[in-house]
């Protein structure tokens, strides 16, 4: 009875873990005993673990991660610093919204990644071009989420502050900021995903260091186990960042928990 209850409670977790373990086991077993494979094209979990140990103990992987996160931080901070004010002004002043909305929506909806070769041409191979690409991709979620947040501020609250003699400054910090914050965090979550796309594309295309470059290089030299390690580490980082922000979203705005902001 007890076991059954515990199973019912953690059913999802148990099934998920079972499914992961059995996939890895099946993969290992099938490629070791059943199918003879070409090591150029496939690999097995045991080789990946060996490669992971080697890479995690060595310093190349850490250096690559440091290089990538450096570029990411620059691009992402620029997106925060430039995106939020634009979005706030768009949400607060109707005419600015009218003027900028079609233009920025057009840019947001189009694959700006297509400009990557040009950006690399202009800014050269290295940190700057990567940061510019990351900025370009991750600024729009900030603009549009700040915009929606400011715009959806409850007009009643604004009026209340005004009628009790609140100054503009009170309006901004007591009403608009708290109501925009959940949108901002949701925007940051989207921006992280797009920023990582920027890192990967920038480093695949023209780079000599960074996690994206490492993955591409392992691919080019047919070192599949190492490549899988790179992919898994980048996935873990992406999942950790995204899930942390999702949790943060729930903490700062529990009342929006059922609202789906993608």
């Amino acid at each position: 009875m007890d076991v059954k209850e515990i199973y019912q409670k953690y059913r999802r977790l148990v099934l998920g873990v079972i499914s992961l373990i059995s996939l890895v086991a099946l993969w290992e077993f099938a490629l070791t005993y059943v199918i003879t494979y070409d090591p150029f094209f496939f690999t097995t979990p045991s080789y990946i673990i060996v490669a992971a140990k080697e890479l995690l103990l060595g310093d190349r992987l850490w250096r690559d991660l440091a290089v990538s996160s450096h570029a990411f931080l620059w691009g992402f901070s620029a997106a925060v610093i430039i995106g939020i004010p634009i979005g706030a002004v768009m949400g607060w002043r109707r005419r600015v919204e009218y003027a900028l909305d079609p233009f920025l929506t057009g840019l947001y909806a189009s694959p700006l990644v297509a400009l990557a070769p040009l950006i690399i041409l202009v800014f050269g191979v290295g940190l700057t071009s990567k940061a510019v690409l990351i900025f370009l991709l991750s600024v729009f979620p900030f603009i549009f989420n700040t915009f929606s947040g400011v715009k959806s501020t409850d007009q009643l609250l604004v009026n209340v502050v005004r009628s009790f003699g609140g100054k503009e400054r009170h309006l901004y910090f007591k009403v608009i900021l708290p109501s925009t914050l959940p949108y901002l965090v949701a925007g940051a979550r989207l921006a992280i995903g797009r920023g990582i796309v920027g890192v990967i594309v920038g480093e695949f295309f023209a780079s000599s260091e960074g996690i994206g470059f490492a993955i591409a290089q392992f691919g080019d030299t047919y070192r599949l186990p190492e490549m899988f390690v790179g992919i898994i580490i980048l996935s873990l980082i992406a999942v950790a960042l995204t899930e942390a922000l999702r949790k943060f979203e729930l903490i700062i705005a529990p009342y929006r928990a059922d609202m789906e902001i993608r």
């Binding site: 005419r95 079609p102 233009f103 990644v113 040009l118 796309v197 691919g219 490549m227 992919i231 993608r262």
Partner: protein
């Protein structure tokens, strides 16, 4: 005079919107007239009119069509595959709690990571032909579709399902009568996201390993300092994305008037 003012008041949003875009293009076009660009910069510089002329030239000699067909083929096949896989899996995961729990770790992990990191592996497996691009388009587009279908199915009104069940419906009927119609708006929203991801897949896939296709055209033009060609390719991708996005958005608003407005996502 009041006539003009009224005319402006009624159409203020579109006048300002179009006005800004026109202003932007005019400003861009006139930069060479205001400042004489140093030689290093003019190498990277082009104006909208030059881009338009180049677009016409490339159209006339068939270069664009040649690349466009390849890209379009990759886009259509990849997106088609992702619909064929994403919808059924979304429906099944939404209806079966066991399968949901079994597949969820993979879906969450793959969805949170940009699928572009699989590109080098796909190139090893599928070569540098169209198939590696089709696969990367598929990988990019399948998750938004799957997850939105899943969310749609999960949001289905329990009362309706119980109702249909008590009249003796089997799982198949429940799907057909209740679940599918109910999740259509979600699926369409997923499709909008999927189109964006698919275009991204085509562009990036063709950057790295391709000799044909619009992405390859852009990459090659950039290395040859043909900036106008880069912008021609960019403009085509932009046009296609905008057409698809707004067509689907229109469909979405028609299908889901009852849903509250949501934040813009592409």
């Amino acid at each position: 005079m009041t006539g003009v003012v009224n005319f402006y008041r009624e159409r203020e949003s579109s006048i300002l919107g179009i006005g800004f875009i026109v202003l932007f293009l005019v400003a861009w076009e006139s930069i060479p007239l205001w400042v004489s660009l140093p030689k290093g910069v003019s190498l990277f510089f082009t104006t909208p009119s030059q881009v338009a002329v180049k677009f016409y030239e490339l159209m006339a000699d068939g270069t664009i069509q040649e690349h466009f067909y390849i890209s379009a083929w990759e886009f259509v096949v990849g997106l088609g595959l992702s619909i064929a896989v994403g919808l059924p899996f979304g429906l099944i995961m939404g209806r079966s709690r066991t399968l949901d729990a079994l597949l969820d770790p993979y879906v969450t992990a793959l969805n949170a990571t940009p699928r572009l990191i699989w590109l080098p592996l796909l190139i090893i497996w599928a070569g540098i032909g169209v198939w590696s691009k089709i696969l990367i388009v598929f990988l990019g587009a399948v998750f938004p579709l799957l997850i939105n279908t899943y969310t749609g199915v999960k949001n289905v009104d329990r009362v309706l399902i119980n109702m249909v069940r008590s009249f003796g419906a089997r799982e198949w009927h429940v799907m057909k009568i209740v679940v599918l119609p109910y999740s259509v708006p979600f699926i369409v929203a997923g499709l909008r996201l999927a189109v964006g991801r698919a275009v991204l897949g085509v562009v990036v896939g063709e950057f790295f390993a391709a000799t044909k296709g619009l992405g390859a055209m852009i990459a090659r033009a950039a290395t040859a300092y043909q900036v106008d060609v880069v912008f021609v390719g960019m403009a085509i991708f932009m046009g296609i994305s905008l057409i698809f996005t707004f067509a689907i958005k229109k469909l979405e608003t028609n299908l889901s008037r009852w849903r509250p407005e949501q934040v813009k996502t592409f």
